[in-house]
């Protein structure tokens, strides 16, 4: 991996690119601080704007934004009792009590150190696993890619929040949307309604921006809620930041456990960051000799939550970039960025674009360190961003979203697609239908179809090729398990619960 690393260092170290990383960090911090925004919306907004950039620079920038949002969310969690992102939710349990006790500086220092070091550990683990991943990837041919795409769809659809059946329907709809336009294999026009615009199909970026950025902003406008639960115009960070940083070293074994937990959870497709910080927090509480201290302003709670939260991104990149299955919603959005820049996500990405992998990991590492330094210095000022009313924020974001979508293809009809998906995204959010499987369907649909048809051609028209080797069978079993287990579980539990009573 020496050459890709050299390439990555060379790219990130260039003054202009380093400036972009800093800009990405600042933007990520801002987006992370504002509840309702976060990594998904930030990436959805920025992906169209990176279209004109070199792919390596674009991914470097996006990784920096992702790193920034993680810590941004912890600032408001600690200072305002409102997590900027869902992945910082567990930080509130001890972070806010610490702030109320006048120890906000200590909480922020602990959060900053745990975040940066957690990200570093996550990346180190991922780098160590790359040789193993490369061995696995060598066994992947078209039949395995087909099963992998199916597994990715089913696991995401059944694991994400919300109704399981709705998740599966969302994935299916995403696939159907992906089949609009000329079939690339047969040339058959599908669902074009004789509209020239639809000959190229439904484009991914307008749909993505509509589903996430527009849908989310509409949702916030609809709820009309205050940004911070505890508004306090005098956000006093206070001193104690160094004490917080040193606390991470003092509780190093707790930090290591939490970061490793976050990394492993990040690697599991679909589980995502929300799970990581809760699991790490509760494991820290349970394993402590004085669990009753947790929830009263114990710095260990902040360390556990933040270490796992930032480590999960490193772990999440392994299935996302190595297999094309996103570890979380923001990873699903990031997959779309690959397609925008003409790079096919999936098993071959590690083989053919190791330089991209290296740039992303290095950018994530640099951005997490920068985020902690900048975030710690500007925490008080950043928290004041939450004083901006949603009534101002949402229109600005919506306008920027429409402008951004137009800049990708200079096609006015893209805006109508964005609008349609935005309205649908709001409806989906309201009824508990996750939007992440739909994005995955849009991304993986064409991949699955091409892999299937290629396999069919290779085998001379027979289907035995899909069951011919162990990897295919393993992926098939995993797909079936991910599909039926969540549906069977409540039925089984209801049955046995009825028998017992």
């Amino acid at each position: 991996m020496a050459d890709p690393v050299t390439t990555a260092v060379g790219i990130v170290a260039q003054p202009g690119n380093f400036f972009l990383v800093c800009a990405g960090v600042l933007f990520g911090l801002l987006m992370g601080v504002i509840p309702g925004m976060g990594g998904v919306v930030a990436l959805a907004l920025l992906i169209p704007l990176t279209y004109g950039l070199d792919p390596l620079v674009a991914f470097m920038f996006l990784a920096a934004v992702l790193g920034g949002t993680n810590y941004g969310g912890s600032i408001t969690a600690i200072l305002l009792n409102t997590p900027g992102t869902a992945t910082n939710a567990a930080t509130i349990f001890d972070g806010y009590p610490m702030a109320k006790q006048g120890r906000a500086g200590e909480a922020l220092g602990a959060s900053a150190a745990a975040s940066a070091l957690g990200a570093l550990l996550g990346i180190v683990v991922v780098v160590a696993l790359i040789p193993l991943m490369e061995e696995i990837i060598l066994t992947f041919g078209p039949p395995q890619v087909f099963w992998l795409a199916l597994f990715g769809l089913t696991i995401i659809a059944t694991v994400v929040r919300g109704n399981v059946l709705a998740g599966l329907a969302s994935a299916g709809l995403g696939m159907l949307f992906a089949f609009h336009g000329f079939d690339p294999v047969t040339g058959t026009p599908r669902y074009t309604y004789d509209i020239t615009y639809l000959y190229d199909g439904i484009k991914l970026i307008p749909a993505l921006v509509g589903l996430f950025a527009l849908g989310e902003m509409l949702d916030l406008l609809d709820k009309g809620e205050m940004i911070a639960k505890d508004r306090n115009d005098d956000v006093d960070v206070g001193s104690g930041r160094l004490k917080g940083v040193l606390a991470v070293i003092e509780h190093r074994w707790l930090f290591l456990r939490s970061a490793l937990l976050g990394t492993v959870i990040g690697m599991i497709p679909g589980v995502g960051g929300t799970t990581a910080n809760y699991v790490a927090y509760f494991q820290a509480e349970k394993s402590a000799s004085d669990p009753e201290a947790f929830g009263t302003g114990d710095v260990r709670g902040v360390i556990a939550s933040e270490a796992s939260n930032d480590a999960k991104d490193g772990g999440g990149f392994l299935p996302t970039l190595g297999l094309g299955i996103p570890g979380s919603a923001s990873m699903a959005v990031l997959l779309s960025a690959f397609l925008l820049h003409g790079i096919q996500p999936g098993p071959l990405l590690l083989q053919n674009h190791m330089d991209i992998f290296a740039v992303i990991l290095l950018s994530l590492l640099v951005s997490n360190v920068l985020t902690s330094v900048i975030g710690l210095s500007l925490a008080g000022q950043l928290a004041r961003v939450t004083l901006i009313p949603i009534g101002i924020l949402a229109p600005v974001v919506i306008t920027v979203a429409f402008i951004g979508v137009f800049t990708v293809s200079n096609n006015i009809y893209d805006l109508f697609v964005t609008l349609g998906f935005g309205v649908m995204g709001l409806g989906m959010a309201r009824v508990g239908m996750s939007r992440v499987p739909m994005v995955l369907g849009l991304v993986l649909g064409p991949i699955a179809q091409q892999a299937f048809l290629r396999s069919h051609q290779i085998s001379g028209g027979t289907y035995g090729i899909f069951f011919a080797d162990p990897m295919s069978i393993i992926l098939l079993v995993l797909t079936l398990l991910s599909l039926f287990l969540p549906l069977l579980k409540p039925m089984v539990m209801n049955h046995f619960g009825g028998v017992r009573s």
């Binding site: 047969t186 406008l221 609809d222 309201r430």
Partner: protein, 158 residues
Amino acid sequence: MNTRIISSPDRLAVGLYGLLLVYTLNLIVQTLDFSDPRARLFPLLFGVPTALILGLLTVRGLMPTKFDRVLPTRSVEEESETAGGELGWLTVVIFASFPFVAYLFGFLITVPIYTFALTSRACDDVRTGIAVAVVVTVGWWVVFVELLNVIFYEGILL
């Protein structure tokens, strides 16, 4: 068929699932007309199960008590998170107008007017709307038109 009185969130769910079901069935019907069987394969492979699931969700929305014991349902937390109601019809119309106004009049007219209208409506304050519109328009012009040299659509009427 016994149906209970459907509360607002369930009405929305039934409406959304029903609409998506109709769209999916429409796609399936179109798929049957494709001449090449390879072009039909995947849409049918995913379209039919999707339609079945959407049908099930629609029926569940209409008769929730029959299905809640055996099908995964939303948690109480998710129910409260989906509460809303602040969005008026005028706000929705303004929100949806961007593509149409841009198509007719171009971005130079649309960006300031849209931002002003939506912000004024959302904040219920005209002066805030004007201020935000000015900032956004200037920012758009400087970043996208001057720095990035993006050529924006000029509208069919202008």
